[in-house]
């Protein structure tokens, strides 16, 4: 059997197994649960694809996936939420002036960089930036105060542009791409772990901004009731064809509406996933993709051939982050709310890394499979861990120190599991479940 064929067979078998796992949940637990898991699997797969572009194509370590995903989320909020009445009137002018000063400061800083002699560049640059910052604050502070004062219990922020939510997904991708460009510009071309540390930092800052700039994001008060691309379940329940469907399957209206709504999301997400996957595969097998892999495998040789490695890395880093941003936008759309407080790096950054490494670095189909499988394991491990612990402690005196302690530890087993999976795969199957076709050594 030729290696290509066996690889394909192996991939198909693995995907079938994954499908069986999800179907198993449907048969054993419920179809609502199975579809809920499937939807998050699809989103995870998109995120994993984005990270695979950075790591698999170019060998870049992004430790700030969480931040790019959160930017995708705020993209949806700012695009699709209705504007808050009076907010722009209250703070718009000041906000505009603040933005103007940001632009002026950037321009001034660039002028300093170009024109001022190098020995003065540091102090003058610092002075310009500080002055610009304080001028900006003079206008931003009253603006944010005025905006946050408007109906703080339900609004207290600018709101969005009332545009279709699907457009928000693109905007989310663009936001993430913009942040990635800034970080990449600074840290690419330096030591490999500088990018990791810089992305770790930008993610923390993005989250800090999203949590604290209430006038823009409502902060930890969350934005709820995001517009949905699909009729809400409550509306679906009143539709006659749902009732019809329910009676045909011998189910109740509420369950059927839930399943239909989830199926519709699944369809939408699948379309996005397939589109991105198709583009990613095209890119990978284009001359551009071959060049990226050539750079990854032998940077020195590529540089010697006159390739601008840093620039290529910037491209792929921005593209990958945009995909992560889109996935983040899909996530808040599915949840129907944007909750900055819920982002944490283990779940939104490092879990995605487990997906990419387990799936197969450099192989898009592998990354998708990794996204599915690891999300499935992550979700299932929590109840599984709890049930293991209650079985283990069944013989103990209920309420005793160890019994309570072990039962409380149950939900944390999944962190251990993720660490073990990552380390075992990295060690014993570094190519992942579906290895890259022209595997590197």
């Amino acid at each position: 059997m030729s290696p290509g064929l066996s690889l394909r067979t192996r991939g198909i078998l693995l995907y079938l197994a994954m499908a069986a796992l999800l179907l198993g949940v449907g048969f054993v637990q419920s179809w609502t649960v199975a579809l809920t898991i499937l939807n998050l699997c699809l989103i995870s797969a998109v995120m994993s694809l984005g990270v695979n572009m950075q790591w698999g194509y170019a060998g870049l370590f992004n430790a700030g996936i969480m931040g790019f995903a959160a930017l995708g989320g705020i993209g949806v909020v700012l695009t699709s939420m209705p504007p808050v009445r009076g907010a722009l009137a209250a703070g718009g002018v000041n906000l505009g002036l603040a933005a103007l000063f940001v632009i002026l400061t950037v321009v001034a800083a660039l002028v300093v960089r170009r024109r001022v002699p190098s020995y003065l560049r540091g102090p003058v640059g610092l002075l310009v930036v500080l002055a610009g910052y304080f001028l900006m604050r003079i206008f931003l502070d009253p603006a944010s105060e005025a905006i946050e004062a408007i109906d703080p219990a339900s609004a207290g922020y600018l709101g969005g542009l009332n545009l279709p939510v699907l457009l928000g997904w693109l905007v989310g991708g663009v936001f993430a791409a913009g942040a990635a460009w800034l970080v990449g510009k600074v840290s690419l071309g330096l030591r490999s772990d500088y990018l990791a540390i810089a992305t770790l930092g930008i993610a923390e800052i993005i989250l800090a901004i999203l949590k604290n700039e209430n006038w823009l994001t409502r902060g930890v008060k969350n934005v709820t009731g995001l517009p949905r691309p699909i009729p809400v379940e409550r509306d679906l329940q009143t539709m006659p064809w749902i009732a019809d469907l329910a009676s045909r399957f011998g189910s109740d209206v509420i369950t059927t509406a839930g399943i239909v709504s989830r199926l519709a999301y699944a369809l939408l997400f699948t379309i996005v996933l397939l589109l991105i996957l198709w583009l990613a595969e095209r890119a990978l097998h284009s001359p551009w993709g071959r060049m990226m892999r050539a750079i990854r495998d032998n940077r020195d040789a590529a540089e010697a051939m006159g390739k601008d490695v840093t620039r290529r890395h910037l491209h792929v880093f921005v593209l990958g982050s945009a995909v992560v941003g889109i996935a983040g936008a899909m996530l808040v759309t599915l949840d129907g709310q944007f909750t900055p407080g819920s982002y944490n790096p283990l779940r939104y950054t490092f879990l995605i890394w487990v997906m990419v490494i387990v799936g197969g670095s450099g192989n898009n189909w592998g990354a998708v499979l990794g996204g599915f499988l690891i999300w499935y394991v992550w979700v299932m491990a929590e109840p599984f861990g709890s049930s293991i612990m209650s079985t283990l402690t069944a013989g103990m005196t209920p309420g005793s120190f160890w019994q309570q302690h072990l039962v409380a530890a149950g939900p944390h087993i999944r962190f251990l599991l993720m660490g073990l999976i990552l380390l075992l795969v990295l060690r014993f199957a570094p190519q992942g479940l579906i290895p890259e076709r022209s595997a590197r050594k």
Partner: protein, 337 residues
């Protein structure tokens, strides 16, 4: 004159003292990260969780000692429990090295593979911390809380502003000085310490000189574990222990190491204090301070705060970015690539 003194006391109370304590904690963390980098040549993403786990062991030992009625009087019991935590952390990292990193070292893997492995290790340490002590906030400070109370200070000096110095802050600085002095003495004066530096400087030549790499790595891990446990315990005493905040310390610690020059022990210390002082100074509201110094007519209206305290991580990041742009090798010329 009195206004000047009041202003200085105010600044000391809210900026100088806290920043010195915080800087000491960061310096110890960054020293560990930079030593691991110098010898093992990778950025250890599990360092924050190692700090949390070491501190967890210290807290458990502290509880044990407290239950047994053993204490240090005015000093926190945690100091007595430190060796237990260090031992636990050292055993843990040595097992980790044996089971995880040694394989990649023998393979001479790319540094980024080590980084990914350290992410896996991070997950496992995180889970262990959750298993052992949970995710809740824990306070384990005991003994006398203050060396000087704000009220007593006011009475003593007759100034309007008070200066409070907490026991944990004094202990932090003293323990930091002792630990750093020990590490520097070890690196500069002992045969094993010099071997560590030699191995970090030129691995091949160190091997030619008969230096045993396994021993160098072993010692490095033990020192890093000790530093992480000490840093984590001091931070926990000074603020409070919440496992998740330890992961967030990773950013200022990395920033400190890079600012000082990666792989440069002295740089890590300097970097720790630069980051801590910037963070505290930038997030401090200077309204009261300026109130003492400026004439009535110029009194500021706002808080005169550059950034809200929620943005303290932004400070590390901005310093990091400036260093990457201006001098990627850091102040003490660390390694690049």
């Amino acid at each position: 004159m009195e206004n000047l003194l009041n202003a200085f006391v105010l600044l000391s109370n809210f900026v100088l003292v806290p920043a010195i304590a915080y800087g000491s904690q960061l310096a110890l963390g960054a020293l560990g990260v930079t030593l691991i980098y110098a010898v093992l040549r990778f950025s250890n993403f599990a360092h924050g969780d190692l700090m949390a786990l070491g501190t967890t062991a210290v807290i458990l030992a502290t509880w044990g000692l407290q239950a047994a009625g053993i204490g240090l009087g005015v000093l926190p019991t945690a100091l007595l429990a430190l060796p237990v935590g260090i031992l636990a952390a050292a055993v843990l990292v040595l097992l980790t090295d044996r089971w995880v990193y040694r394989f990649y070292r023998r393979q001479r893997s790319d540094p980024v593979i080590f980084v990914i492995a350290s992410v896996g290790v991070m997950f496992i340490y995180n889970a262990l911390t959750r298993f052992v002590i949970g995710t809740d906030e824990r306070r384990f400070e005991d003994g006398a809380r203050f060396v000087i109370r704000a009220g007593d200070f006011r009475e003593m000096t007759g100034l309007a502003e008070g200066l409070a110095i907490r026991t944990s802050q004094v202990i932090t600085v003293v323990v930091m000085l002792v630990s750093v002095a020990f590490v520097f003495w070890f690196l500069q004066k002992t045969r094993t310490g010099k071997a560590m530096r030699a191995y970090s400087d030129n691995e091949d030549l160190a091997l030619l000189s008969g230096i045993n790499p396994d021993r160098v790595v072993l010692i490095t891990w033990i020192i890093a574990a000790a530093l992480a446990t000490i840093a984590g315990t001091l931070y926990g005493l000074d603020k409070s222990f919440r496992p998740f905040t330890y992961f967030q310390l990773l950013l200022p610690i990395f920033a400190a190491a890079i600012v000082g020059g990666v792989g440069q022990p002295l740089g890590a210390i300097v970097g720790g204090f630069i980051i801590a002082f910037s963070e505290v100074m930038v997030t401090y509201a200077y309204k009261g301070f300026l109130g003492y110094l400026l004439p009535e007519a110029w009194q500021p209206e706002g808080l005169v705060q550059m950034l809200g305290t929620d943005y303290k991580f932004a400070v590390s990041f901005i310093i990091l970015v400036v260093v990457l742009l201006v001098r990627p090798t850091g102040i003490f010329r660390g390694r690049v690539i």
